[in-house]
């Protein structure tokens, strides 16, 4: 089976199991809706997210401001929509970077073995012994809070996870006869990795990508809540909770709605990841 056919086969099979697992459809649907919301932010947000209606501060939800206004009289709904955009950009870019470098490092380590493997995985173990949030906190505190730095910080905390996931199947595939055959034919390591080993770990990487996207969004929100997120007045979901927390008694809408949206994003990504995992697990695949 060539690579494209294998991906196609993988696609149809995943589709079928996806179909059996209704909850993963809900996850996909929910996530797609939230992504659309974020992408279409300039079109659908009723107000400018940083525009202040000073006279209408902390107004409860009304027909004019559907989810109310915050301390500076900014429209909460518009800020949520724009905040989703920041969450998705930071979440997906950091996961993409981590997946790229993590997969390369992990599969190279697994493929080469020996000292290289021991060194790379040793470094990964060290990185993993600092909790994600604290690592993010340390890096952002040192680099300074900005969107790019948040992405770097989150990617750094996730690279080891992807490296681990990519390594084990690479080691398993390395001893397969077809890989030995490729080596005997003189194929380059790069070609063997990309064409013959990578498709085997693609599924699991997607599952982890979805799960870690959930974690990245949540960690970004947590850092913004602590005050180490993208600088104000840019709307971020975590930052909105931070600002709204002060007025939680008089204006709960300013912090509770953004929190609900973070929960929705993370939940949808987890639901999707869960469904994908069931779909790809050969033990569960044949189950009705």
């Amino acid at each position: 089976m060539n690579t494209i056919a294998r991906f196609k086969h993988f696609g149809t099979e995943t589709y079928h199991v996806f179909n059996r697992n209704k909850t993963s459809w809900i996850g996909l649907l929910l996530l797609t809706m939230l992504v659309l919301l974020a992408v279409l932010a300039p079109v659908i947000a009723p107000y400018d997210p940083v525009e202040q209606h000073i006279i209408q501060r902390l107004e409860p939800p009304s027909s004019q401001f559907l989810l109310g206004t915050d301390y500076y009289g900014r429209d909460v709904l518009s800020r949520i929509i724009w905040g989703c955009r920041v969450s998705f950009i930071i979440g997906s870019v950091s996961v993409a970077i981590a997946m790229f470098f993590g997969t390369i490092l992990g599969s190279m380590a697994g493929y080469k073995g020996g000292y290289f493997d021991a060194f790379v995985m040793g470094v990964m173990d060290v990185l993993m012994s600092i909790p994600t949030l604290l690592m993010g906190l340390l890096i952002v505190a040192i680099l300074g809070p900005s969107q790019a730095n948040l992405i770097i910080a989150l990617a750094l905390t996730m690279i080891p996870r992807f490296a681990r996931i990519a390594r084990a199947p690479t080691i398993a595939a390395k001893s397969k006869v077809y890989v030995e055959a490729c080596q005997a034919m003189g194929f380059s390591d790069m070609r063997i990795l990309v064409v013959h080993i990578f498709p085997n770990i693609f599924g699991e990487l997607m599952v982890m990508g979805s799960m870690w996207m959930a974690t990245a969004v949540r960690t970004e929100a947590a850092l913004s809540f602590i005050g180490l997120g993208v600088n104000p007045p840019t709307a971020t979901l975590g930052g909105m909770i931070r600002e709204g927390f002060k007025d939680i008694m008089s204006a709960p809408w300013a912090s509770l709605y953004p929190g609900l949206v973070i929960l929705l994003i993370v939940f949808a990504a987890n639901l999707l990841g869960d469904g994908l995992r069931d779909a790809l697990d050969p033990k569960l695949r044949n189950e009705k």
Binding site: P131, A222, I226
Partner: protein, 313 residues
């Protein structure tokens, strides 16, 4: 067993050393000169130089690193440059609060999560199973600061069962426990979600094994199969998950401490960042790394206790 413990201990040393080194150099990369932070922007060049040499900042970084390691081995984390106090004392003052919070969270999570996970696996694909699964997925999707805010609003503000602001310095053991309930519940819910999921999937896998079928064929009663043959073997992945997520829990304890305004390492980290007290920040990171490595060690040792096969390897 003793040999196993010693082996694990020796393996932890290089990891710790590497983490400590990483923290030392990363913190040194931070912008801003500590002397400038202490004396302010209007300080003269002479006073800055004097303070730098007093703090030992004018020496080569390798020398500073060496001294840092030497005092670390002696259990000394150095002094806070802002608070002019030993970092050991500062941390020792608040460490119990974070430890009691995290332990209570883990305990709550395991006590509630394990039976729920077993229940969910035994009655798989039933309505209750779906409810437990969706519930646990929501649980692990909650950002800890948001669930904390919701708990605070529901139980402290509306129901008035717990104090809004924790102040564990005051009062007797009863009061201290009373104030621990909500923050511990906040962490416990997250832990519970992880435990339920891992217990369910691990038990399901075990229950599909051949030896379970053999046990059924022998006519053993259901609960004996479940406990003796199922649960005992299913427990190892659950222990891994618990160990792994204590790290996540430690991160979440920072957020929980902020929301509930509890003293602890998390709040200390924030003030260290605020005051640009990099020595303190470094000390805290070292302590966190120690805690995580310790948890990993205990997790490994627990495997050895639960599964004699691992011990013998």
């Amino acid at each position: 067993m003793l040999q196993y413990i010693i082996k694990r201990l020796l393996l932890a040393i290089p990891i710790l050393l590497a983490v400590v080194t990483l923290v030392f150099f990363v913190v040194r990369m931070a912008p801003g000169d500590p002397a400038q932070v202490i004396l302010g922007d209007s300080a003269s060049y002479e006073s800055l130089t004097a303070l730098r040499s007093e703090l030992g900042l004018d020496r080569p970084i390798i020398v500073q690193y060496g001294e840092f390691l030497v005092s670390l081995v002696q259990g000394d984390l150095g002094d806070s440059i802002i608070r002019k106090q030993s970092i050991n004392t500062i941390i020792a003052d608040v460490l119990p609060y974070t430890v009691e919070l995290t332990l209570a969270g883990v305990l709550l999570g395991v006590i509630i999560g394990l039976p729920l996970g077993v229940f969910s696996a035994v009655y798989r694909n039933s309505f209750w199973d779906y409810l437990t699964r969706i519930g646990s997925l929501i649980g692990l999707s909650f950002p800890a600061f948001y669930s904390g805010i919701l708990l605070l609003l529901a139980f402290s503000v509306y129901l008035g069962w717990f104090p809004v602001v924790s102040d564990p310095d005051m009062g007797n053991l009863g009061e201290r426990l009373h104030m621990l309930v909500l923050p511990a519940m906040n962490l416990g819910l997250i832990m519970m979600a992880y435990v339920v999921r891992s217990a369910r999937s691990s038990l399901l896998e075990t229950l599909g094994e051949d030896y379970i079928r053999t046990a059924k064929a022998k006519g053993l009663p259901g609960f004996i199969i479940l406990y003796k043959h199922g649960l005992k073997n299913a427990l190892i992945p659950v222990i891994t998950i618990i160990g792994l997520y204590i790290g996540v829990l430690v991160g979440n304890s920072v957020l929980t401490e902020i929301v509930f305004n509890r003293p602890g390492l998390g709040k200390l980290i924030l003030s260290a960042l605020d005051e640009r007290d990099y020595n303190l920040l470094q000390g805290l990171m070292v302590i966190y790394a120690f805690l995580i490595v310790l948890v990993n060690l205990v997790t490994d040792l627990t495997y050895g206790m639960v599964d004699p096969r691992i011990r013998k390897q």
